[in-house]
Amino acid sequence: MKKETEARVIVFTSEAEMPMMPASVASTLYNKTGSWRYMRPLYKNQTPPCNAACPAGEDIVMHLQLTAQGRYAEAWETLVRENPFPGVCGRVCPHPCESECNREYLGGAIAIHCQERFLADYAAAHHLSLPTTNVPQREEQIAVIGAGPAGLSCAYHLRRMGYQVTVFEAGEKPGGMMRLIPEYRLPKEVLEREIAAIIALGVEVKTGMRLGVDLALKDLQGYAAVFLAIGQSVSRRLDVPGEDAVGVLHGIDFLARVERGQKVDLGKKVAVIGGGNTAMDAARTARRLGADVTILYRRSRAEMPAIDEEVHETLDEGVKIEFLRAPVAVLTANGRVRGLRLTRIELGAPDASGRRRPVPVAGSEYELEFDTVIPALGQVADLTFLSAEVQTERGRIITDEKTATTRLPIFAGGDAATGFGTVTAAVGSGKRAALAIDSFLRGVERPFPDLAQNVQVAPRPHDPNVVRFEDLNTAYFEEIPRPPQDQRPAAQRVTTFQEVNLGYGEDVALAEARRCFSCGTCNECDNCLIFCPDVAVLRGPSDDEPFVFNYDYCKGCGICVSECPRRAILFAEEIKFNDQ
């Protein structure tokens, strides 16, 4: 009797057909024990918390898994399928993904941003081109207004779908706010490379074309769709006396001048007002220009919107931060800044943002001397050029979850529409617009999640349930600490604009990727295959389907479900499947 593959039921019709002793003539495959099952395991990837948290909709787990296998190029391709700015985001994103990472409990969250940067740098070092798509070219012309991260992301994705895209940019160069991120945090070379790669796909960028000045919306009527990604370019004012004095320089203006290589005379003592990333950028830039810098922030450390690491680096570089302080006046002498009158602040009840409202402490005012004051309180969009048909609300363009404005085929995204001011959010917004424009133009219905969630160009089939730490089988994971990223020493940093963070080398990146739990995503660890008592888990036909259940025999014991380290198997009542 050789090894059998088919299920044979043996029916003896006479004693003569039987062996003389009870000897087997077939296998137990005849016995379809699948009928015993009342719970059914299902291979269905569940949502990793990092993926759910990524504003750009990156498939983080997948690129980590590919990195873990040393398949860097594929990992990078996975990354850029969703986000054409991994080099930028890997450096500047506040990485909400890491905040959700389940690894936090066993050695610290995966350094996802470092992994992203590693892949981008790897691609650059190996001169990898953005992967081409084999889609037919489409006739439709699309206009994108604004070559910031939202506009370029939208243009990139549309182009990959075969559309003809023209990007109109008000500035001299594409990049938008990304250009204002200081060199020591985001080397221009990285930005230029990623923008150039998008342009190389066939995206046309027309610079020096400001909407409302150089062209009007009605000029774009020849385009099948328009995507407004105009960004927030107008700095918020301090609204205190003396604000217009010489020596008051708004953060983005300051950064823009530095970026353009213009000389900025800051004097000796500089005050930066604000607690966001622009405030940090301004303070650290000023520090590099030789100033003695103090950041004044009206709330406490806990409320600071700037990325944590960023705050640390700022402090390391000798910038002072004064919390619970707010300016009440810019002190001037001869039309020039000489200092600030400040008030101490107490935190009151939470406001609309959920943060505690700053309340000035009566009688606590005092004065400090400064040569330059740099307010960095954030920006708002300039929406004055919009016609009434494109409705706005509280400084933002109104869109639905498909990024459609009230005037089709005009779509809008980026912070001018969403208010989310990060590059990553803008990238996600532009991608959402590209997908929406595509489905609009093709007349195809496509579901879009609400704007708080991300969208993906190439989503893997998955269950929306987000995997939490308690869902994992931690027996299979060791506690391994997160490796630190190399940095230039602070003393050296303040003398140069060279990049502060040095990223991960390959060894560290590989090890770090292997530290990923791969939450909710099968990484072919083989546990289900190995622990099945009934040989009812088989290797699947392809990488996309690494294992299959043999439901003819699976008894539904659930060992595969509980021994899956990463909750990539669902367990559902069999009754749901009996009708199918």
């Binding site: 009797m1 090894k3 059998e4 299920a7 043996i10 003896f12 039987m18 062996p19 009870p22 000897a23 087997s24 003539v25 077939a26 296998s27 137990t28 495959l29 005849y30 016995n31 379809k32 024990t33 015993w36 099952r37 873990a68 296998q69 027996a475 299979y476 292997r514 791969s518 990484n523 072919e524 660890c525 083989d526 546990n527 190995i530 622990f531 099945c532 008592p533 009934d534 040989v535 009812a536 290797r539 699947g540 036909p541 392809s542 690494p546 043999n550 003819d552 025999y553 008894k555 539904g556 014991c557 659930g558 060992i559 479900v561 509980s562 021994e563």
Partner: protein
């Protein structure tokens, strides 16, 4: 079949399946999984001997078999002797490359079959004797055996009067025969188990492998917990993974992580221990700790001598 990936967790486990689906083991049966590993380790040139036990049924009714290797079903107490006969016959017939594996439950090993087993290993017959231990007579519906742990419930040791005697130390008994190889193994540690079966296969003479095999109906545990339970058995030191060569050289193969977990973690997942008082759990913990320390001392003595 696709090539297995090796990046995520490097299981050094052969792909070939030598057990068939369709066996009538209960869902989550540890003994069924144990056989799967055992045969993966030993390969197809193996003859199995199965005395009365759950596996008499799991192996399939006439005219079916759930194994791709020959099986000889035999009487409850005869695994040691039948295997001796098979081994001797293979030897005299010149078939010296076939592995003989006796596969018996705890009843057939600790109790009714102990004499034949002792006789066979004392003669150092060339075979591997495996006791898949589910800690009671499960095939007859959960009666106590001498492998049943202290204070456990079975149908013959009801909760009003749970088992009063500690579990018999079968590996010590085997080691006392000075056989070349005696080891423990369990299903949560497939690589350790497979390595042990392979090692046993390479040794001439009597080899004994004691495999802890959860029985969800008999332990009153969740079918899906079978691996978890044996992992906890090892991590709590209730069932340490070790081997004893020539009755003397003790090696601990898996050291509990971070000093181990309390036995309570293991006990609480099993309904057969639900009636245990805190005092009883403390007593079990103390006994487990004592046994573990003894084992460690023996293992260290070996390490010290080398």
């Amino acid at each position: 079949m696709r090539e297995p990936k090796t990046y995520a967790r490097n299981y050094e486990i052969p792909e070939e399946e030598l057990t068939y689906s369709g066996s009538v083991s209960c869902p989550g049966c540890g003994a069924t999984l144990a056989m799967r590993y055992a045969l993966k380790a030993l390969g197809s040139n193996t003859i199995t001997v199965i005395p009365a036990c759950c596996w008499s049924i799991i192996a399939g009714p006439f005219p079916y078999s759930s194994l791709t290797v020959p099986i000889f079903h035999t009487a409850f107490e005869t695994a040691g002797a039948v295997s001796s006969g098979i081994s001797a016959a293979l030897d005299v017939l010149g078939k010296k490359d076939i592995t003989v594996m006796a596969w018996a439950g705890d009843g057939g090993t600790f109790d009714i079959g102990l004499q034949a087993l002792s006789g066979a290993v004392e003669r150092n017959e060339d075979f591997i004797y495996v006791c898949y231990d589910n800690e009671a007579y499960m095939n007859t519906g959960i009666q106590r055996s001498s492998a049943t742990p202290w204070m456990a419930w079975t149908t013959t040791t009801p909760v009003e009067h749970p088992k009063e005697e500690p579990k018999k130390d079968i590996v010590a008994i085997m080691a006392a025969h000075r056989i070349p190889y005696a080891a423990t193994a369990t299903i949560a540690y497939p690589e350790d188990m497979i390595a042990k079966f392979r090692k046993a296969k390479g040794i001439r003479g009597s080899k004994f492998i004691h495999v802890l095999s959860p029985c969800p109906p008999g332990w009153k545990s969740e079918a899906s917990d079978s691996i978890k339970l044996t992992r906890l058995a090892v991590q709590s030191k209730v069932f340490p993974l070790y081997e004893i060569e020539h009755g003397d050289k003790v090696t601990i193969n898996v050291w509990p992580k971070d000093g181990g977990v309390p036995v309570k973690e293991y006990l609480r997942l099993q309904g057969r221990f639900r009636h245990l008082s805190e005092e009883a759990i403390a007593a079990i913990q103390a006994e487990v700790d004592r046994n573990w320390e003894r084992l460690v001392v023996r293992a260290q003595r070996v390490m010290g001598n080398e």
